[in-house]
Symmetry: C2
Subunit: 105 residues, 2 copies
Amino acid sequence: MGNFENVSIVKKANIYFEGKVTSRVVLFHNGEKKTLGIMLPGEYEFGTELKELMEITAGNLDVKLPGNDEWVNFTGGSEFEVPANSSFKLIVKETTDYCCSYIKE
Amino acid sequence: MGNFENVSIVKKANIYFEGKVTSRVVLFHNGEKKTLGIMLPGEYEFGTELKELMEITAGNLDVKLPGNDEWVNFTGGSEFEVPANSSFKLIVKETTDYCCSYIKE
């Protein structure tokens, strides 16, 4: 778990769905970008531009990835990838703390 | 507004009130500590150990500071201080993005 060291963090939050989903941007010296976010219970759909790695720090959610008909459950300590230029659906069952990495291919 | 540069951020969020209040700890090289947080609409009471400077980045809330009988309204761009070892009440009217600085006296 731990910390991200020697990073920049954008002071202003990204706020979606009236605050039920929020995130903060973390920038690394090597140009890498991650967001640290919170999702409250609810149903959401998000689009990607870059490939994303979603690491679930804590929480409980079902995810339907692009091209899949099945919902897959994720909890704290698990992760999933989302392809670039796609969209995915989430049913958040318990408040979820996540780290999203944006991956240039 | 801008960014905090060359800081550490704790990956795991602090989650209060079932996720209606969340924050992330930002640590500075000089030992200073701030939290960046989100409060969804609701009524809350918080206690302080250190003196706190609360900067409201965005949002709308009423605050009753210790020793005061009156509620005072704050919106984005405003700030207030809370004495050490005290408690204060908040009525958050709109999702509020804040930065809290912990001040050693």
